[in-house]
């Protein structure tokens, strides 16, 4: 009767019980000797907080997408080193060659090497993605900060304005912009940036509002701190980290949107090696040359997916800290 029997391990979905079990009684440390001086640990700039936390151990959720993105950046900077041939080099004799050892991704209707074109396409896709996100975030920071920091009336005004912009969903705002500015790579970039701005602005606004209403800002007011001090030392640093995540996620989305516009014939124009417009052309031959459709699209998906994973990875890291 004295033998201990194993109870079956009870498996349920409760995670709280775990944390309850791991909490140890709080042991208060009595005051002790002054330790030797520690190196100062003052987060200086806005970005430093985010980067400091980033450094604290990266999981595979960040490393894998980071490696792919670094490869993509390499392709954007030095495409001619990575690609076997130029993006516009034609060889009609080899038109519609299926993927193989000579042409990894096959060739198109003019015998151009699809792999080389995809590599060369990285530059414009990345550039558009980054620039559009920068435009969108830049505008959004202004709108979000004005609404978040302003008086109730200002906040109301900006929020209603954003609500109006939300009524132009998705590509609609971009199409409106293109109607005014005309098609092209530059206008596509601006259009994508503008249509992303309202979403960012709303998130930044609520982030600023929540920091503004936080206990530590109140504590700072009680300490007699000025508005300017609070904005600089509390609100900006605490809004910057989520902003970083937002930007990372945004690049992937911008690449997808910009390539959609190119696909519709409103962005880059053939024969420029842009993934969206390559796909648009490739669709004409979808019946006999699948590779023209599959590979450029795969790269759009991969670059958008990796930035998304990276963004979520960073987000998780920030939350866990």
């Amino acid at each position: 009767m004295n033998t201990h029997e194993d109870l079956p391990t009870i498996i349920t979905d409760l995670e709280e019980a775990m944390t309850q079990g791991t909490q140890t009684a709080v042991i208060e440390s009595p005051s002790g000797q002054v330790p030797p001086a520690l190196p100062g640990n003052r987060p200086g700039t806005i970005v430093a907080g985010g980067i400091r936390r980033l450094g604290r151990g990266l999981g595979p959720g960040i490393i894998v997408p980071l490696v792919f993105l670094l490869g993509l950046i390499a392709a954007a900077v030095i495409p001619s080193v990575l690609a076997p041939s130029g993006p516009l080099d034609m060889n009609p004799a080899e038109a519609f060659t299926a993927p193989g050892a000579a042409h990894w991704f096959g060739t198109d209707e003019s015998g151009r090497d699809v792999f080389s074109r995809v590599i060369h396409g990285a530059r414009s896709s990345l550039l558009i993605g980054v620039l559009a996100t920068a435009i969108g975030l830049g505008l959004a920071v202004v709108l979000g900060a004005v609404a978040g920091l302003g008086t109730r009336a200002v906040d109301f005004g900006v929020s209603r304005f954003l609500e109006v912009l939300f009524a132009f969903p998705g590509l609609l705002l971009a199409l409106l912009v293109i109607t005014i500015l005309g098609p092209g790579v530059v206008t596509t970039t601006i259009a994508v940036g503008l249509s992303a701005a309202p979403g960012y602005a709303r998130m930044i606004r609520s982030q600023v509002r929540s920091v503004r209403g936080s206990g530590y800002v109140e504590a700072s007011i009680v300490q007699g701190r000025s508005r300017a001090f609070i904005i600089r030392h509390h609100i900006l640093p605490n809004v910057a980290a989520p902003l970083f995540v937002l930007g990372t996620l945004g690049v992937g989305q911008a690449i997808v949107w910009a390539s959609s516009l190119s696909f519709l014939g409103l962005g880059a124009t053939p024969p420029d090696p842009e993934w969206g417009s390559m796909l648009s052309l490739g669709r004409l031959y979808i019946g006999n040359a699948w590779w023209l459709t599959v590979f450029p699209g795969l790269f759009i998906v991969l670059s958008a997916a990796t930035t998304t994973l990276l963004g979520h990875g960073i987000q998780r890291k920030l939350k866990d800290k």
Partner: protein
Amino acid sequence: MSLETLNHTPSTSAAISATTDSTAGSSRLRSVLRLSGLRILGAAGVLWAVATLAFFAMRLVPGDPVDALLGGPGNNATEEVRELTRELNGLNEPILIQYGAYLGKLVTGDLGNSYQLREPVVQVLGDQLGNTLVLAVLALASAWVLALGLALWSARGGRGATFVGNLLEVVSAAVPHFWLGSLLILVFSVSLQWLPATSGAPGIEGLILPVLTLAIPLAGFLGQVMRESMLTAMNSPFAISARARGESEVSLSLRHALRHAALPGIGLSGWAMGSLISGAVVVETVFARPGIGRTLLQSVLVRDVPVVLGVVVLVAAIYILVTLLSDLAERLADPRLRAA
């Protein structure tokens, strides 16, 4: 002290709410109704602002609208003809008068005439709207079913569920409609030859691929949100309460977690409808399907301002309406929102 006397002591919070809660049933409806009144007013305001913004934005389109009216910049119309056209279309009036006329016509449902097609925009869109709405509504319904199914399946936790969660994240954010549509055509039309690649003809076969193309990325997004709120529900204290009553995991997810998963889905329906119609621009092009998306694209290319304006206002109206409805539905379903 007996429970009864304590309960009716006016100063205990229990008793205070006892008096205010007695009419809760009707007050719930009343509060939702009053709120809907405010909401409808607000929605009308947003619609007016959208129309105004779009009208003035369209004034920024470069080039003389008369050229567009007369068949493009290369027309050989004489100055008299141009002047007459201006006169007829009210283009000589001051901008505010034109704006007033535009608003007046808008209220009566007149969106002007297409430059290109030479017919009323209302007629152009009326022919196409049905196609797009069928597409969008079917896609929304499919996305809901897919997302709920996935959320239910994956909310049990474990490695497979984590994988699904990550997959949803990626699919919803990274897969463009035009590529997904092309892949579906490649597989189901070119290779398997099960379904038509174009969907011009009426009939259900032509609809399957476009609906799937629109639904899959949306399902990824909705599934992610639903899965998260389902997991939150399954791990919350009320789920422990239910388990402590002897509830099984399956019953728990169906009776409790499913409602919690559906809530954010309802709330996002307005946004989803908007993104579906925007996606229709691409999908209608990929599948060569008539609809307001494709009409919009063609009008953008030739800068047919009245049509662009018409589509924008129409889509905004749909978006605002669906948002309004989903908002009210969410409030009706979740008492916590009404308190806020």
